[in-house]
Subunit: 330 residues, 2 copies
């Protein structure tokens, strides 16, 4: 197998993106800015109520992996789709951008996972995820050779929401650890952290080399209202952490140092979906290619700025071109 | 049944929109700017070769009908979907914008129609349509009560490409004619006109009240290279014709007069898909509401300008708001 910069494992999701106002969120009991898991009747009901949508491949770790490929990185993905049309869309899009993706689809059972993303006029996204088949990652699907082929294995916290997916997560982290590969984790969502705090704290202390979290996730992890306090504890627990703070940029913590990275400018924030995922893409691409931490952070800011300037969480332009134009890479 | 301004009949299609360069079109034998019908193996092969896509409901007449609803018009649609995920997307999106749509989906046979739309850097779109179930409009589906409820019945020329759909077209035109309703026709595509020229000429002369065509379609209809010559013949054959000329605007022909309508300004042409469909939406909304011909034409230009400023052929903002802001309606 060819070498990879990064291999990601996550829920394989197709996003259905529509616009709504704040009153719609309130009327349907949605918490603005969050990710809520919904069951089949709820996703039906909500879909029936929302306006017209645009379908674009998504999934948190999958977005990151697509971003790494867009930077010119060699990337692979492991995730479960069904043999339905959304599954075909997901498989096509991730392969079309050059990602190694060989997880076989499953037929006859649950459909491919989908996420109804409601974007309010301020660009904020509220996600309602019906996981479908996506957590059903059997042990046979965690391709050990693919994981060992990568410098970094990237895992999304969302996998903890279902036991089968959590087992796959642990299996992948174990294979990567034994092979001397780096393990990167995204905490995914503050409510997700709330659901799995003790296990995430243990993971961060004992299994994770690179941690990604935004402000609400890292403060939830350490049950504090102070970002500085949460950052101090993350610094003590991990070798490398990148904490994102929306328009305030990000802070990279490593070897007792804190490096502040500004956000990249955006003319108009259209849809914040995927901002964290694409920050991770730029950062991991930089780390896998041995670039300086602040360069890796700036690549993260650059990718996040591209993704929030349009609808959807997959890049619309080649991030490798943006990176070259910005002078961050040759 | 409630009254409708316009009821449309057409192929129910979900668009899969991706970007490519001119070399990709050449390598795959595509004629830039055209619509080509493709079979299942060809659509597979082309989809495998193209980059990541965005899925958005489409279909020529369906786009027009969605546009009329976006202007605040009462609109209905008749078109065939399958009981698959793309069918669900199509049905959801057209109903979500307020269109009456009750054609029952079909299960177990062909899939919902889809169109691979390749957008080149100049914003031009090249369409590759796999019709799937969409032409299988049985006589039971042409809802006579729905057609009689509308001031105008709008038919797309593309329906002529399959015998079952053509039968539905003729049935609908017949019901509308007998009920004293107006029949509007879009010639759809120059190659489509080429395939059905004699029948289209007969329709235009004998059954159609309102004709929509672009420059290449109307010159193909009359087998002339001169737009002026084609316009003269269209004027002789129909009561009302709107001929679109891209950035040169449009010409409305009625009662021996020709009214020139300028194109509405666009900051950047992103994707021309649906320009003609949305021009027809604005024009038909204006006609159905009894507005002056030049106002109807300007509403058409306005809707076309909105649609080419983003990816996809369904409006991203309420056209009723745009129309009010422009002062064309109160």
């Amino acid at each position: 197998m060819q070498d990879h910069d990064v291999v990601g494992i996550g829920n394989a999701i197709v996003d259905i993106i529509g616009r709504c106002d704040d009153a719609f969120l309130a009327a349907h009991g949605r918490v603005k800015g969050s990710m809520q898991l919904v069951d089949a009747p709820t996703v039906e009901q909500l879909y029936g109520a929302m306006g017209p949508g645009t379908e674009i491949s998504g999934g948190s770790a999958a977005n990151t992996i697509a971003g790494i490929a867009s930077f010119g990185g060699r990337a692979g993905f492991i995730g479960k789709t069904a043999t339905d049309q959304f599954g075909e869309v997901f498989r096509h899009d991730i392969r079309a951008i050059g990602v190694t993706f060989d997880t076989p689809p499953a037929g006859g059972g649950e459909p491919t996972g989908r996420c109804l993303i409601l974007v309010t006029p301020d660009g904020q996204r509220t996600m309602n995820t019906f996981l479908g088949i996506s957590p059903q990652l059997g042990s046979g699907e965690v391709d050990a050779a693919l994981i060992r082929s990568a410098r970094i294995v990237y895992l999304e916290g969302y996998l903890f929401d279902r036991p089968e997916a959590k087992a796959a997560f642990r299996q992948a982290a174990d294979i990567a650890g034994k092979a001397g590969r780096q393990v990167a984790l995204s905490l995914s969502d503050a409510f997700c952290v709330d659901r799995h705090r003790a296990e995430f704290q243990d993971l961060v202390r004992n299994s994770v080399d690179i941690l990604f979290a935004n402000e609400s996730e890292v403060t939830s992890l350490y049950e504090t209202t102070s970002f500085d306090e949460a950052a101090r504890r993350a610094q003590a627990d991990t070798r490398l952490a990148a904490l994102t703070r929306s328009e305030k940029g990000s802070v990279i913590l490593s070897g007792g140092k804190a490096i502040e990275i500004p956000a990249a400018p955006v003319a108009k924030v259209v849809d914040t979906t995927g901002a964290g995922d694409l920050y991770a893409a730029g950062f991991l691409f930089g780390i896998a290619r041995g670039l300086a931490l602040d360069t890796a952070g700036r690549l993260g800011s650059l990718a996040a700025a591209e993704i929030i300037s349009h609808i959807g969480a997959r890049p619309e332009v080649k991030l490798s071109d943006l990176a070259r134009k910005s002078g961050l890479v040759d």
